[in-house]
Symmetry: none
């Protein structure tokens, strides 16, 4: 572990890192259309097309991608951003890298779904939560195993002494049991959670709503330095990005996604912590609240959350361990979550669906190859997808039908 | 409503009242065999046969009934008990009376079941909870509509200021919304709950673990007078019955049964309030806990209860209203908790244990009478208690073994 490590000799090609660094700045997260497009054509091609901004003919951007990137496509600071990151001993973690927390973040892509709705109460109606395009990271901590072994502790900035005590004490207890404590580095509960984990030499991750080069809140600069030295500071925002309210909300989905469960220590009636809890619930992760006096305004949000059937009241750190070890292997969305057009597809049909391109239709032979399904059964799967309005033909080739 | 009303001109025949008053004293509750027998042959015939004590030939008692009634069948104070009740403005509520809370209590009979097991952890293994044979009642309040519209508020005797505040405040709020607040008149949470309901002129019911003529705890004599004047004091124990530990546990089943939901305001890790909650759960009623600081020993039991899927954390009185109006979904019976030397004792042995004096040893005959157990089986119970280190002999007499 070193304070300033050189940029890792990444297994990832430099052009991929540059492409993703560029793409990470070119659209404001969450950018579900861009994320899907990059997933489809790869980051290098996507970056080239976004840079060109072509809206018709070969290499034309899907309208959603064009819209998401129109404002910033001319801003390319990928080289200097990566240099800045390297200077600070950081690294760009990308999906092409084994460190990418694919299992943790996959849910964000799934929830975004074909219809673009994420089904979460209070979440954006027209944007899915979307997988991030890259994660700017500093520190020896790693995310490979996320969400397994990681717990989010979130809560009020204006916390009470009680909340601060619980956050710090339980974070220490959980870190001592080998769990990674994930939070947002904010004043109040977040800071106490990071400090509790650090106090016992445990693992902690701070997920920022600003660039990796920013210390926010300023009074937590020293705390963030500690986390960089002994844990991990991570953000999907490129260097220089300033914190803004909407970014805290967007950032919260990563805190939920990177952990097996979210514990709300204190929360007023409406708060970002409650939103993080709802996202965690939508992702099928454990949602827990610390009970407090019913007379405390800062426990009000916790007690309101506790009314939801999927939310557990936990009385001690051991209960948190029980809850997060109970989370299913697939992190399936909880029963009662809204239906999707792909619900009920058998796994092979789902793979065919996943293999369908958004733009340029592909031959059946190519689809069978990409999906790894028996070509003999492909026609059946395609008919089913067509009947469900999920696929369409174009001169004997197939593509996804826009939803 | 009057402080001293004459005995009601009951629609119930005097001989039925006398029979049930006699039967109510002749067996220690819960007496599932006797309850089933009375249900089968009617109270008048049952009383005649029990008095005769015939064990063979025509009118022979079923063995279970003979055992339950052997120790006390010669004690018939029905006439004087009813006179005492009338003198105090009370009434004997019996199943033959329209006031009998049949819907509320039916569950006790069902749960007792054919095999005598009630399926509740920690509950008697060989006795069902059993419907009471009669209810001795004083006060203008009525039970006809129970469990609808009634909420149990239970909790620690050694309550904190926080718990007392919540009990009183929420009881007032619930009573103000037209709900009847049912509790056990004990020190701490129980008393605060009754007082809160009374403070707003609301309805409240105190269910005693002793005779209707006893004020227990003595410091609540005035409170009980208030409840008699404006609510209802009720018990299945005949006049003169003294409070004993096993009677509190038995009484708790009535608190659970008479209400649509049980709210545990504060409870230490093992407590009678938790048992009431488990009985309520077994009866399919709502079980709710008031959250408190995780640092408070008196909220520990609440937070442990909250781990059960059927238990709801409620943050304000309005949540309680939501929960009790939701009752009827059928909750799963509960699992697990720590052990005591008296765990696993059958109910009769437990009653013998409770009847053992701490100081001056008593004869077996006296113990059988006090405990209301079959004298023929007493030696077995005493041997078991001695083997467990719970009882010791002193010149042929018995007392509790210290420690």
């Amino acid at each position: 572990m070193s304070a300033v490590a050189p940029e890792r000799a990444s297994a990832v090609a430099r052009e991929v890192l540059l492409a993703r660094a560029y793409l990470s700045r070119v659209a404001e997260p969450p950018a579900p259309a861009l994320a899907a497009y990059v997933d489809d054509v790869g980051p290098v091609v996507a970056a080239r097309h976004v840079r060109a901004g072509t809206t018709s003919g070969p290499g034309a951007l899907p309208p959603g991608v064009a819209a998401e990137t129109a404002a910033r496509r001319d801003t390319d600071r990928a080289g200097s951003d990566l240099a800045l990151l390297a200077n600070r001993g950081g690294r760009l973690v990308v999906p092409e890298d084994p460190e990418w927390p694919a299992a943790a973040l996959a849910g964000l892509g799934v929830v975004a779904g074909a219809d673009g709705a994420d089904g979460l109460e209070g979440a954006p109606a027209r944007e899915g939560p979307a997988v991030p395009l890259a994660l700017w990271a500093r520190g020896p901590g790693r995310l490979d195993d996320a969400p397994r072994g990681a717990v989010a502790m979130v809560g009020a900035r204006a916390a009470t002494d009680y909340g601060l005590w619980v956050a710090r004490d339980w974070a220490a207890d959980l870190a001592d049991r080998g769990l990674t404590v994930v939070s947002g580095a904010a004043l109040g509960i977040d800071g106490a959670a990071h400090r509790g984990a650090l106090a016992v030499g445990g693992s902690t991750v701070a997920v920022l709503a600003c660039g990796i080069d920013r210390a926010y809140p300023p009074s937590h600069a020293t705390l963030l330095d500690h986390v960089v030295r002994r844990g991990l500071v991570v953000t999907e925002y490129p260097p220089g990005t300033t914190p803004a309210r909407h970014r805290f909300l967007v950032r919260n989905r990563l805190i939920a996604a990177l952990t097996a469960g979210t514990l709300v220590v204190e929360a007023a009636a409406r708060s970002g912590a409650m939103r993080t809890a709802l996202v965690a619930s939508g992702l099928g992760r454990a949602v827990m609240i610390v009970p407090g006096p019913v007379t405390s305004a800062q426990s009000l949000g916790c007690h309101e959350l506790a009314r939801r059937p999927e939310v557990s009241t936990v009385g001690r750190a051991a209960h948190v361990v029980e809850e997060v070890s109970r989370v299913g292997d697939g992190y399936a969305p909880p029963p009662g979550s809204p239906s999707r057009p792909t619900d009920g597809l058998d796994p092979a049909a789902m793979r065919v669906y996943d293999a369908l391109p958004l733009q340029t239709a592909r031959t059946a032979v190519r689809l069978a190859h990409d999906a790894g399904v028996d070509p003999a059964g492909l026609a059946t799967h395609l008919s089913e997808l067509e009947a469900r309005g999920l696929a369409e033909t174009d001169g004997g080739r197939w593509r996804r039908r826009p939803g």
